[in-house]
Subunit: 676 residues, 2 copies
């Protein structure tokens, strides 16, 4: 193919090291410049700086087949510095992903286009995950790499054997979650995770030296990584580095690429002005001239286009060979592998749930809901081998470890239980990565109060629409003596505020089983289980196959005919509501007690059901948490028996009493509302 002749001698010198690679990379640079200019918004600098590395990766290393983007054994490509989205859109377009048309590039950042400001999972094939919130792409990639090793252990390296490649910049390495991911990956020896670091010495506030002066390779080496450095515009050096990284099987790899942000731009390269603003028409023209690029905007010379298409089809043989290997497997293995990747649950799943329910009705149990969760997990994880568990160093508190999910995931043997360490954010993002990889239903535990530490990853689960399961125990002041730093107050409200997340706060053993059933079935919606430290009685004792928790709220007790008052409670406070209702009924009042384990599920019920459940009588809500939002269901926050400030350090009974979350308080309010 004819090669570009850069006008700028410094660029020409770099180009000469691998002229074909340079010419192909210029396609990315040109499209990125044009799309950002067309949108008059976006980030051209990083795509221009990383184009050479991306070309080497896609051209020589990345295992993919653009015409079969869902091939399970493809390498995963993660653009952790998501603002460089035009790099990825250019690559997908050039290599021939069907949905990434030229029109989509021309509509970069416009309403309805799949080419959003940051790559959005679900918008287009080849976008493996949503990135933009820095550090999380890397942490999700750790989950992907971790899932790959586990799936290979289950199905063999001939079916599962792919790399996870990550592009990232300084931001991902400055964010704390980046370090959590780095430390965990090094600990687990994820040798097939390869990170290319765009070390361009520029950050939004100026040169990185304003805030970042550490020795990144040394830091990662200290965390057990294989590290290399190279010129990020030297195609041959990049190729050698990636080859060496692949050869290192026992450690994750970092390739620190010295790059120039906005490479090629005569007046803006190497400055922060090219990070997040269009080049503009004049500078675009000068840049293309400097690069030796003469095609019109959004136009790719035919020979280069053809070469990119060839690259996009490069993996077809490998894919075909893989499919033959799958076909050659025994029927059982093939079916199970296919089932696992499809997200379908095992055929006997329903009966396992039923057996568990029946057992609870046969032998009701008083238990903390975290314990109820462990009881539920025991048979469910036995029946659902794709469930993979873990905790952010609170296993004994979260009770996330059970018999089937007991083998510790280590560098030697990738088991089903992952010790994430004291890394809540890294864990949550890794859970997302595991879910995105496919083949697994991941869950992980921490204290509910530390949902704060991983909140943006929970948000990303919801935004991406994936079925990550968060197990959050110690869900109120009921955790007692550890005090206000460990007692969630505002957390239920703040999690309910996240669109697309199902928050479940079950009241007893049965609701906890039902909550798990919902979470496991929900493969497109994340679930968060808020579970108690303290014991609660089993309130659901009437046998039946219906998952009432799935209705979000239902009448769990009716005292008398009609209603003077409706008590609505969640979790551990349902028992308190029942206790109060019994007393009120003895005083002659009629009461319905509504257990409301999930607002989101209840709000999705038909209006008639919601009206019938909530009733017309005055309502009181009881929840040992902040009151914000409850006015969705009750007339005023005065009708909420809950918390108005932070908790305190003391034994649990004392706390409930001091904060006025008592049956006496419920009774008093109910009588006042009913005028009795």
């Amino acid at each position: 193919m004819p090669l570009d002749t850069p006008k700028d001698p410094a660029i020409a010198e770099k180009a000469a090291r691998d002229p074909e690679n340079f010419a192909l990379a210029n396609c990315i640079r040109a499209l990125s410049i044009d799309a950002v200019n067309a949108a008059n918004s976006g980030h051209p600098g990083a795509p221009m700086g990383m184009a050479d590395a991306a070309t080497v990766l896609f051209r020589n290393h990345l295992k993919f087949d653009a015409s079969n983007p869902d091939w399970p054994d493809r390498d995963r490509f993660v653009l952790s510095n998501g603002h460089a989205s035009m790099l990825q859109y250019s690559l997908l377009h050039l290599t021939g992903y069907a949905d990434m048309t030229l029109d989509q590039l021309k509509n970069f950042r416009q309403w309805g286009a799949i080419t959003a400001g940051h790559p959005e999972y679900g918008h287009a094939k080849g976008i493996e995950l949503t990135t933009g919130p820095l550090g999380q792409g890397l942490a999700m990639a750790v989950g992907m790499a971790l899932a790959e090793r586990r799936l290979a252990a289950e199905f063999g390296d001939d079916l599962v054997d792919h790399h996870t490649y990550v592009f990232l910049g300084d931001g991902c390495l400055q964010e704390g979650i980046g370090q959590e991911a780095i430390s965990l990956a090094g600990h687990l020896g994820l040798g097939k995770l390869i990170v290319l670091y765009d070390d361009n010495s520029i950050t939004i506030d100026g040169p990185t030296s304003v805030s970042f002066s550490e020795d990144v390779p040394a830091r990662l080496a200290a965390c057990g990584w294989h590290v290399q450095s190279c010129d990020g515009h030297d195609g041959r050096a990049l190729d050698a580095a990636i080859t060496a990284a692949k050869a290192e099987a026992g450690k994750p790899s970092l390739i620190a690429m010295k790059t120039v942000i906005g490479f090629g731009s005569p007046n803006k390269a190497g400055t922060y002005s090219v990070h997040g603003a269009p080049l503009g028409a004049d500078e675009a023209a000068l840049t293309k001239e400097a690069l030796g690029w003469s095609a019109a905007p959004f136009e790719i010379p035919a020979d280069l286009a053809a070469e990119w298409r060839r690259i996009g089809a490069r993996g077809a043989d490998a894919r075909t060979a893989w499919e033959e290997r799958l076909v050659a497997k025994s029927r059982d293995v093939r079916d199970e592998f296919t089932r696992r990747l499809s997200g379908r649950l095992p055929a006997d799943y329903d009966s396992v749930v039923k057996t568990s329910r029946d057992r609870l009705f046969a032998e009701p149990k008083k238990a903390a809901t975290r314990k109820a969760s462990q009881m539920a997990l025991d048979p469910l994880t036995e029946a659902v081998p794709e469930m993979i568990g873990g905790s952010a160093d609170l296993t004994g508190s979260n009770l996330t470890r059970v018999k089937a999910v007991d083998s510790q995931y280590s560098r030697e043997a990738p088991g089903r239980y992952i010790g994430y360490g004291v890394r809540e954010f890294g864990m949550a993002a890794a859970l997302n990565g595991i879910a995105l990889h496919g083949g697994f239903i991941p869950y992980g535990g921490t204290f509910l109060v530390f949902s704060d530490y991983c909140r943006n990853a929970i948000r990303l689960s919801a935004l991406m629409g994936i079925g990550t399961i968060y197990v959050m125990t110690h869900d109120s002041i009921g955790l007692g003596e550890d005090g206000p730093t460990h007692q969630p107050i505002e957390h239920l409200a703040s999690l309910r505020a996240i669109p697309g997340l199902t928050v479940l706060r079950p009241a007893d053993t049965v609701e906890t089983l039902e909550a798990w059933d919902i979470a496991i079935r929900n493969r497109k919606v994340p679930s968060l289980l808020a579970l108690s430290r303290q014991d609660v009685p089993q309130l659901r004792t009437q046998a039946g196959d219906e998952n009432l928790t799935a209705k979000g709220a239902y009448i769990i007790r009716q005292f008398g005919e009609g209603r003077d008052v409706t008590l609505i409670a969640t979790g551990t406070e349902v028992a308190l509501a029942v206790e109060a209702a019994e007393a009120l009924h003895q005083d002659g009042m009629s009461i319905a007690v509504v257990s409301m384990p999930s607002w989101e599920l209840f709000d999705a019920q038909p209006l008639d059901y919601r009206k019938a459940t909530l009733g017309d009588a005055p309502r009181i809500a009881i929840e040992a948490a902040g009151k914000l939002g409850w006015t969705r269901y009750v007339a005023s926050e005065d009708d909420v028996i809950g918390m108005t400030g932070f908790g305190a350090s003391a034994p649990i009974d004392r706390l409930y009493r001091e904060f006025g979350i008592t049956s006496d308080a419920i009774i008093a309010r109910a009588k006042a509302l009913a005028g009795k």
Copy 2:
């Protein structure tokens, strides 16, 4: 003094290295064992393991005077692994802090005691900050150390010259925020920050090797730290290490102390069973025997008690000398130093605010509220030298940098503007540390969506009751093309849910100035300003000295007599509400438009004011955010013109239109509610 004779030969060997230190440390161990046993809850392992190091620090190095705990130039002691709280309570009691009585130790973790499960700021003198949420103690300490250097630059090393000592464990080093703090401290060369790392090889889930295998000293060395390792039970080695750390002025110091968790316990030392559970009576007895400790529970032998009291008074001479130096300063310097430390604002503050207001009324300005914020900051920071600014690498977007706050804080010169890097959580915690240190009003910026990344630090500001100021720009879908990952939806609700935080979303230049005025005055309450990327007109044009934003909500426009409908809006949507109200009025309706910049401030107003402001007419709320919580003020979420899901990537006008946040939507709903 008579020294303990340990029964256990391994312990005896350690004790022999510094017998006095060992005997003094046993006082801490004994009290910690007794208090945790009495509470039947708590964490004995870490206090027992770190007692030797704590004794060396308090005995030989820490500059403090227990009878004058507020001495501004005291060294700061930060127990970042807050679950080891009994270590600190024991130290405070032994050294003679007046409020830390023996009864308080006996009431460890009980209602009303100042000895909470984790150290709580404000409970007792000597507790410099609230810790427990891991990693944040270290990050707050970075803020303290940073503040110390800046204050010294302003007032001289003869008035400000103290160290910040941090105790921490593996958890703080695994948390991402720990790395953010480490990286920032190394970058800024905070030489007077000294960290003692309790390297006990034990984590809650078992040996640290289940999840943590990095070379911590090498990681910190890569981040520019001075690192040492030593035996954490060898008094002389610890003393030498702290001495060497103090001698290193240009780098923060890490002392990795190899320790035994639960040191002294024959059956539990070195195991995770001693991390978070009482020893029990039997093991307590065995432990004391092994340590050579024969006093009754909660009893300290008189000679050891006397020696500890001597330690507590050790700094009295230094304090007196410091006071003499302060008195010897010029009146101006002394008054200003005292004022700064007292938290009082400058005498001319009110007039500066008034001048700024008057200027806005004289020349109304259309501006984004982030720009209005910068306009407000210009004169305010000029007048209030204790204001110290920064951003998590979004200076040009947050507009947090102004003329008076322009000098970059660097290792060479501690200026007034801190480049926190892409480290939102580290920044937020550092802001808290600066506020806790005293002498400053810290503010820092990021995008509102990234409040997620630093949420638990915002919570801690509120829990501690300190006046940290968060500047959070790009506060809605109004940020446009960057798309849903960068568009806050649930964030306003989730921040309003935090008890004790004042969330301010001003509507125009005047409200933004007023919001800053509120935030600056609020030295015991944190404030969060949610500011827009896009321009808004100045709606407040009628001159007047009253800060209406301080009322939380007020009628900003009245159209016609009485009300058919009340429109309540915040921030950028107030202008939209006014636009709709004008149209409705032309159609013959009477409308009150309520601007509601702060729910918390409004809810604190007298009932009469609230009723008069909200009125009896049907109400509609308009806010480009999730609807949760608005039913506090309107009848139903159907009456909220807001967002029901995530945003999208597109130009701003298109987004508002597509998501139905338009004056047409307001008009339609108003007519429906008013039956017109």
